[in-house]
Symmetry: C5
Subunit: 372 residues, 5 copies
């Protein structure tokens, strides 16, 4: 692990970004009729693209679909089909998919409104899942989130992404190369594979944040600059955001794993249990981070106080040694006519002796107090 | 988003307002017989007005009712009727409605006593719901709350507002224009639409508070004035108040969505699940705000400490450099007869050299300590 | 609301009082056989008095009973009877009541031992309830608690108070004047009315504490004196005490409202649900107070730190301006023979010019730093 | 209540004692086969003594048993028998009791290993209970804990104590004197009486700690010495320890009271409910103490900060008044040839006037700032 | 107990170590097909070794197995067999075991991926358990964790360790020597014995951390160095890590003890209940540590503030005494022509008298303020 340098680490965390993630687009839809398809969120791709992979144990075909209608025939094949939609702003297209597959208007609304919290909804004939895909933008040095909608309906899995991310790349690769058991399994296993890919991404984020924590802890061990405070605050914000994104997922996957879902076959539930374990691990690590970050603020406060003590010690030592000496010098700077000491032969050397002795005494005193 | 300037942001939060909201009118009714109709709360409109909208898929009639008795015939029609009462202080009128529709005295009491917490009560033949409608008063720059009572009884929805707010305007519009599916659905869908309108309003409030948080966070990043502390405290109060208003709503909507309510038809429960999701989102965002606000106070404390360190450094540097120099000057200001240095030719320039060197050494020392 | 002045507000909260309430008489009974009647608590009235109200829809008789035996005949009438016992120290009297009505020895023990937490015990043939009646003593400016024991047995309600308080006055009045529905209802409604009276009293306390909070918040906004700290601590204690008194009540009333109690008829449970709502509201307000009070301590700490910063700024400005100037004056106070400046014509005015310039530079510097 | 003086109160709390209680003997048994009888804990008595009380409503015999076998015959009598074992280090003796009464090896292990947390285990034919008996050692001025093991088997109750404490004294007395209903009841009531005696002891501890809290609160109100901090920390430790000892008891007694235990007859469960109430009260009071103690630390910190402010004020006032004056004096101590003021007639008195005026202005300034 | 000295204690806690434990290898597997065997974690032994112990009440044979196939025959014997695998990096070997015993691919994956949280999975024909074995490395002076996988399948227990640790040594010894009841019991008792050995190890860790806490508390009582802060922070990290390792174990053992596991016979569940009690005790002690550690940070902050007060007192006393004196000396160092005092006979001694008196007054003042 190559540690990013401190200023980079500290710069990489912008507080406002977090806040934006937290309240993203929440209020944009106010007053609209429910089920109205309005895309809420950033438009991340120019054009919506649809790709279809259709496979069974022996065959696998893959194509980019031009018109949305081209992917409808796959609905009734016996092979497993994965329809992936990149881009959510073409509400007409999504509405067509919805009406063809018989999806509830609120489901479509949730797909295009990117401010959802992770959830699962079970409509007997299909299952709808919303997830947060997290990735770390090296450019902005911050965590970014993208909403992923997943629908399992018969043999078909439809996935909706805000942009063509690479998180599903390895799954696609495994299907193509028939690696692992994915080709031998049904659409429920495909759903699992996609969710697993999203959850695996969380561990990368955790590691990134772990690195930041380590950098800041190192800074706190020595002399923390004021920016460390902002970094800690931002880190706290990131942990809050992560928690918000991942926490509800526990419930979602727990529901899938419970065996109550008709669409999830029994041998696949054990795989969902595996994702469940991972999610718990992510959640626990986030909690650990929160604990560590809150401890870091205490450390920062103590570090400042320690520094203040250092400063005050310097001041006090200097002042305590020199103020009395200056007073003595002041005494013999007075212009009284009758000051016998002024005329003694050895006054001046004696005075120096006194001054040096006093300083030495003070020095020993501070040494004993461990201030030096 | 145009950021309000800081002093505005800080001024917009009055602590006492929060406290008033929290304990509003709680003790006014002590000692009264239960079921006594006493209006508790501010009188927000001069005259109570009643409007009635009666509709089915094909027709829609709307009118302002003069006498309360005019809206009673709607009770037995097969069309959906929405009776909206603006203003709660005319207890006689409300008592008439109550007796005509067969409402329990405690329900009427709760309607006119505006200090209720959100709740749902199921009286077999009708459902009674209390909500808090929140809006942001740009005038007072603070969050205000209004109590909304909703009753679903047969085909009729009766809503009670403290004042003629515009939060139900879009719903009325949708009914008039037959937009969405509202005209094709029953009274339970109307109930949903009204509650949805109230919950949508929460997101606007969240955004407003989010803006305030951002302003204060920016202030904290640089040099926070003492008012920032009051702003943080007031913000904390607002978050507490919001939480208190929204938190119980989860349970209310959960009950409505559960399918146990005979008056809510099955296809509409899915819409209540949608509000439920929104409520959870609001609650989680409020929790996030609380976390952020509590972190802000830590930041403020640290910022003050940092500032103190800055101040102390200045003092210490000045004192540490000049106090020893002043001492040396004091030494040669003494009037001893026998001070050989006073008579040497190069004493004075030598002394200056010593002083300058000492200062330079100090300067380097502080530079190394990163105090400069 | 007339605001009490600050010193009054601060004086009105004595910490030790709280502590006494918290641990009141807990250890006095150690080592005694269970069921032994020992009055634990302050003796608040000289003589135990018993009053009986007997009523049905049409008649109502009321009398003070001399001998405890006089109230036994009411047990078997068909009218509703309320026996109110003021004063708990006459254990013999209470033991007589107990044996006549067939109460369990532990119930009697709990009645006379005033250190109980609120609870409900259901002994099939009767229900026993312990409540805390709270009132605000204007004399001592603090919250006081009194234990109330309630027994519902057949048509009879027996209430045990530590002293003749006026909290049940309005209920008595309503019975006498046949106001509301109390005269038409059974003993379970009477039980409700008494408990409602106690819970209504909590709102008065909440308002009192709310006022104190407001006073202290105002103090904290400006320059808080050290006493504010004690007031905050005491307030925290009061909130803790309140919470301890009210929190268990939720469960008690929930049990009564649940419909599992044979002695509570179904139409009356809805009234208990109403008290339940009130109790929840009280508990939530207490939690809000706790949050606000804990925030107030943070404010206090910050206010002290701000003040310290102010003090340090004054010191630093003065020292930073004058210490260097004094050094310069010290230089020309030296007695070296060969100091050419001493003999120049314009030395002195030049020096003044330098001093003034230096001060001005410092002044501008501090102005820029916003220390002035 | 005679208040112990402060230094006593502060001295009476040793932190290491708490820590020892918390981790007592935990690791001593590592690597041993389960069920091996190894006494873990301090050996508190020289010789193990066994006393037997055998009674029914009419008779009561009591004796000290020499050989353990002497108490075996009581097992099959129809009278109630209480076998009390003082001292746990004679593992052979305890193993004999175990095999005679048919106890599980793990039960015996738990009896002699004094690091157990309170628990109840139900082995159909007998019930095994572990409790912590707490007492306050006036000698060491700290809370001490002793483990008590109780076994209810048929008509026999066997109690195991680490040392012959006096906590069971009153119970023994009641049996001897046939006070209360103990002689008329079965072994389950005896079990209750013993547990009640232990729980009653907690209230004494609570009162002791309450007194300490009061002493420290008084100290904090004025000028808290650094030792107060240690006292607060130790108090916190004591509260933690108490909580750890009492908290699990709730569950234990709840299980006993639930009516699921075949060995506890129905009329006795109501007595266990009484202990349950007491336990809840103890737990709540401990929580209250924890809240108060954590508030005390905040108070301490604020008190220190207030004191610091006082100190800084003194420094700042002195420095602000005298540093400028000293500068002016320094000016006229300079040796320039051309300083016209030096030669004026009224310079010196004028200067004094200036100095006094400046001081007065400063004084008024600080007075206005309320620093004086 | 020999106390390690402070610097050792403080040095022994490295923060980064904790962090590494927390996020250990989490992200290494991203993008891989589930069930792929990839060893994640440090390679702690060179060569994987397998030892087999096969025993019943009368016989016991033990051998080191060269090829993994050699341990397969034991599967079908009626004796109890314990197969212990040291080292996890030989995935081929583990995969062979997996396919022979019919283990699920995800189980094998979890065995070799050392970043698991403790869990139990019940696959009807076998039970899979993951534990964290903790030990204290005296070399690095920190807590280390090792993952232990346990499989109970028929009469066979297979254990997977990262390295040949000695924690299972005593169990092996007990089997060899036929100590306790282990030889007379089945494979479920062996599973218990192994888990018990792991849990026993936690107590050793707790004692080590307890010692560290005691050392740091002692340091905090006197004058804490800045390193104490880091030690506290690291201790907090260790407590967090421990909690994370042990907390999930409660659930695991609770499941085993519940009696729902077909493979655990009823007489053995009581032993699992014993481990359950131990686990609760460990968890509670960890919580206690967390409380103590968080209190320690408060103590540290207060100790720093106290020290600051000490420093400021010294400064203030010196400055307050000498600054006024220096001013007076400065006055009489002025060169005005007309200063009558300069020429008086007794001016100088009088001045000294004034100075000494002023100092004495100050001294008394500070004495009264308890600053001296």
């Amino acid at each position: 692990m190559i540690k990013p340098n401190i200023s980079q680490a500290l710069a990489g965390i912008k507080h406002s970004g977090i806040l934006k993630l937290v309240t993203k687009g929440a209020a944009k839809k106010t007053g609209q009729s429910p089920g109205t398809l309005v895309h809420v969120g950033e438009k991340k791709v120019e054009e919506v693209t649809i790709s279809v992979i259709d496979y069974d144990a022996s065959n696998c075909s893959e194509k980019q679909v031009q018109a949305v209608e081209d992917c409808f025939p796959y609905r009734d094949t016996r092979t497993v089909t994965w329809i992936n939609v990149n881009g959510l702003h073409d509400t007409e297209l999504i509405s067509k998919i919805g009406s063809h597959f018989g999806l509830h208007p609120l489901v479509l609304e949730d797909i295009v409104h990117t401010g959802q919290r992770p959830k699962m909804e079970d409509f007997e004939s299909y299952v709808f899942i919303v997830l947060k895909m997290l990735y770390y933008s090296e450019l902005d040095r911050e965590v970014k989130a993208e909403q992923v909608g997943l629908i399992l309906i018969g043999n078909v899995v439809i996935s909706f992404q805000e942009a063509a991310g690479d998180v599903f790349g390895p799954v696609r690769e495994r299907i193509r190369k028939a690696r692992g058991r994915i080709r031998k399994q049904g659409a429920d296993y495909l759903l699992y594979a996609l969710m697993d890919a999203v959850v695996d991404g969380y561990f990368v984020i955790l590691e990134k944040i772990g690195e930041k924590i380590e950098v800041i802890e190192d800074v706190l061990m020595s002399d923390p600059p004021p920016e460390a405070l902002h970094a800690i605050h931002a880190l706290r914000g990131e942990a809050i955001f992560l928690r918000k994104s991942v926490w509800p997922l526990r419930e979602v996957i727990n529901d899938l794993e419970s065996g109550d879902q008709a669409l999830i076959t029994e041998p696949v539930t054990i795989y969902f249990r595996d994702i469940y374990d991972h999610t718990i691990q992510v959640v626990e690590t986030i909690e650990t981070y929160r604990d560590l970050v809150s401890g870091m603020h205490d450390m920062y406060l103590s570090a400042i106080s320690n520094k203040m003590n250092e400063i005050m010690k310097v001041l006090t030592i200097i002042a305590t040694i020199f103020i009395p000496l200056t007073f003595i010098a002041g005494i013999y700077g007075m212009n009284f006519e009758h000051m016998p000491e002024l005329h003694w032969r050895w006054s001046y050397p004696t005075l120096w002796a006194v001054l040096v002795t006093a300083s030495a005494v003070m020095f020993v005193y501070f040494k004993n107090k461990k201030w030096l």
